[in-house]
Every structure is written in C-alpha cells, then in structure tokens.
C-alpha cells in the first residue's frame, strides 16, 4: 500500500502523481523503489478522478458496520 499512499500524498499536496514524484516520495521514506510498480500505479491512475474515489470511501463504512452484530 505504500505506493498508493505516496500517490495520495502527492495528490493532496497538489502535485502531479507521476513516476518521478511517486519514486521520490518512496525514496524519502527509505523504500527501495520498484520502477515497474511505480509505472503500474501511475498507469492505473490515468483517467481516474482521485478526489471522487476518495469521496466514495466515506460510504464504505456503513454497510459493514450495519452488518455487525
């Protein structure tokens, strides 16, 4: 998940979520960066509205919680 967090961090910081950005954030965290994973992440994010995806998350809790005993 560290790759996803790096992407979210960049997004929140108003920076472009590109390979260079993700790599440098991960490196700063002391992570040994896997170029292929960075590429895969950035490719998967193409065309994705991160803000919208985040907004949908809030609702996620409800069904699970409701089902709890």
């Amino acid at each position: 998940m560290e790759y996803v967090y790096a992407a979210l961090l960049l997004h929140k910081a108003g920076k472009p979520v590109d390979e260079a950005g993700v790599s440098s954030v991960l490196k700063a965290a002391g992570v040994e960066v896997n170029e292929a994973r960075v590429k895969a992440l950035v490719a998967a994010l193409e065309g994705v509205n991160i803000e919208e995806a985040i907004a949908k998350a809030a609702f996620a809790a409800a069904p699970a919680a409701a089902a709890a005993p």
């Binding site: 998940m1 996803v4 979210l8 895969a40 994705v48 995806a53 949908k56 998350a57 809030a58």
Partner: protein
C-alpha cells in the same frame, strides 16, 4: 438376442445395413450415447427429435441390433462398453457436441407428469396438508383408502395431514396413482434420460455430467473475490483495483486519524462526535442515580 448374435450368418440384409449404420454413426460422431426414453409418449419423442435436430441425432432401433453393433467394434474401442447399458426402452444418440452439452440438452427435455399404476417412485412422494378443490363426496373415502387423511371443512375437501404416501423406489399402486393424479401431484419425470455416453476413450455416466451452475457461479465469485482481496492486501494497482485501493487507503487514514486521534480538519467532526457518543454512553451508565447528571443529560 443371444440367438441372433450366434446366428449372424442368417441375419437379413436390412438388419446388416442397420448394424453397419450404427457402427458408421459411432465412427462419424464425436460422441455416442444411450438414452432411456421410458414413459415418453411417441408423439413427445417426435417433438424432442425435431427440437434437437442438427445438434443431436436420435436413432431408434432394436436393442438387439445396437447390441450386435457395439460388440462388433474393435476391442480397443471404448464405445463397445455401451452395449452394457442397452436395456429397456432406449434410443441411440450421436452428436458432435461435448458430453456435457449433450447432457444439458437432454436434461432440458425432462418434465413432470402424473404417475401411472406400477410406476416406481423416483423420490419420496408426499401429499401436503391443506385445502383441495374437491366438493364433498366419495373422494374423501377414496383418499382415506390410499392412506391420505381427508375431511371436510367449509364445504370443501381438505387434506388433514401431510403424508408420505410412497417411499423412493417403491411401486405406486393404480389406486394411489389415480388419487395423486386427481390431486395434481406429478411425481414422474419423463424425458430423454442419458444413461451413458462415450467420447473417445472416456465413458461418462450421468453423475459425471451433472454440473451445478449455481455452485459454479459461486466459485467464479469466490475466485474474483480472491483476486480482489489479493490486490487489496498486496497493493496491486490495476485499472480494476485502483479506486478500491484509494478508498482503502482513505478509510485506513481516517480510521487511524480518528482512533489515534490525530487532529486533522477532515476528521474533526468524527472525532468530536466519537467523544460525545462516548460521553453519552458513560452518562447512560449513571443515569437514574440521584443528582449524578445535570438537567440537560437527564432529558
């Protein structure tokens, strides 16, 4: 049939042609099967034959001739084994479909019909209690005679008790069959009943061929769930998983912020309401105790 097999030299030409016809069909089709058609009226059989035309060839012939035909096949041909399944009212089927598709096609021809005297119950036959459409009359006695407890309520005949009238595998008497018919109970399944099918070197029995589609759908759902869970756990970003991954990260972040708590604007309302809920929960514990709560909390 033994006699005929032993005196094959005296077989008339038309029989020889028919035997050759069977052997040719076995060789020219991907699969050959034996189908039990007991109880299927000839007219229904014609309809089924029409419906299957082009996909499955139904070939009605004498059992003796198919027996000879299978036994005439070379020793190493698996289809020889089909001779063992020739018994009763059967037809041969040939198809280029796979055995599973054949099984499904043939299963689709089955329907429920009323029992006749002498039929064997394919499963336990149970008559449910409840109202019937019969007006009071001799029917009450007739039902009683076959062991169905009947009476009259509100001017109608009612079945008083749920009763298993025949066990699976037992013979259905003529009288009971008549009563079941009048009660609209249809315990007999008729249709093309595949007994055995050979494809290449493999003999398939019905049990091998019945695939539970509901269970299969469940397995696909499960497999898809596995893939999804793996992506979530390992953080595998694909077009299909990136949004759920973002959502997972968002929820984890919020959860951490609320539970730690970390004072972030985005979750302050949750943190505050969590504190309030906790306070109210503790207040509930002391509710009713004299003076422990202020007026606002008592209300």
């Amino acid at each position: 049939m033994e006699a005929e097999a032993h005196h094959s030299t005296h077989i008339p030409q038309w029989k020889k042609d028919e035997i050759k016809n069977i052997v040719d069909n076995v060789h020219s089709h991907r699969i050959t099967g034996i189908v039990d058609v007991r109880g299927v009226p000839a007219s229904s059989l014609q309809v089924m034959r029409q419906q299957l035309r082009g996909i499955v060839t139904l070939h009605m012939t004498r059992n003796t001739l198919s027996n000879i035909a299978f036994n005439s096949l070379p020793e190493d041909e698996k289809a020889r084994i089909l001779a063992e399944h020739i018994d009763g009212q059967i037809v041969m089927v040939y198809s280029n479909e796979n055995p599973f598709r054949l099984y499904k096609l043939l299963e689709a021809t089955k329907s429920k019909v009323p029992a006749k005297g002498g039929d064997i119950a394919p499963e336990d036959i149970v008559v449910e209690k409840g109202p019937t459409s019969f007006k009071p009359g001799p029917i009450v006695g007739e039902l009683q005679q076959v062991g169905i407890s009947a009476g009259i309520e509100g001017g109608k005949v009612v079945i008083k008790q749920t009763k298993k009238v025949v066990k699976k595998g037992e013979k259905i008497s003529a009288k009971l069959a008549e009563m079941l018919g009048r009660l609209d109970v249809k315990p007999i399944e008729v249709g093309l009943n595949l007994k055995a099918v050979v494809e290449g070197d493999t003999l398939y029995m019905p049990a091998d061929l019945a695939v539970d589609e509901v269970a299969l759908k469940g397995m696909f759902a499960q497999a898809a769930g596995h893939a999804f869970n793996l992506c979530m756990e390992a953080g595998i970003a694909t077009k299909d998983t990136i949004e759920p991954l973002i959502q997972k990260a968002t929820m984890e972040s919020k959860a951490l912020a609320v539970n730690a708590p970390i004072f972030e604007k985005e979750v302050m309302d949750i943190i505050l309401s969590k504190a309030e809920v906790e306070m109210l929960a503790v207040a509930k514990q002391v509710a009713g105790k004299e003076d422990a709560l202020d007026e606002e909390l008592k209300s």
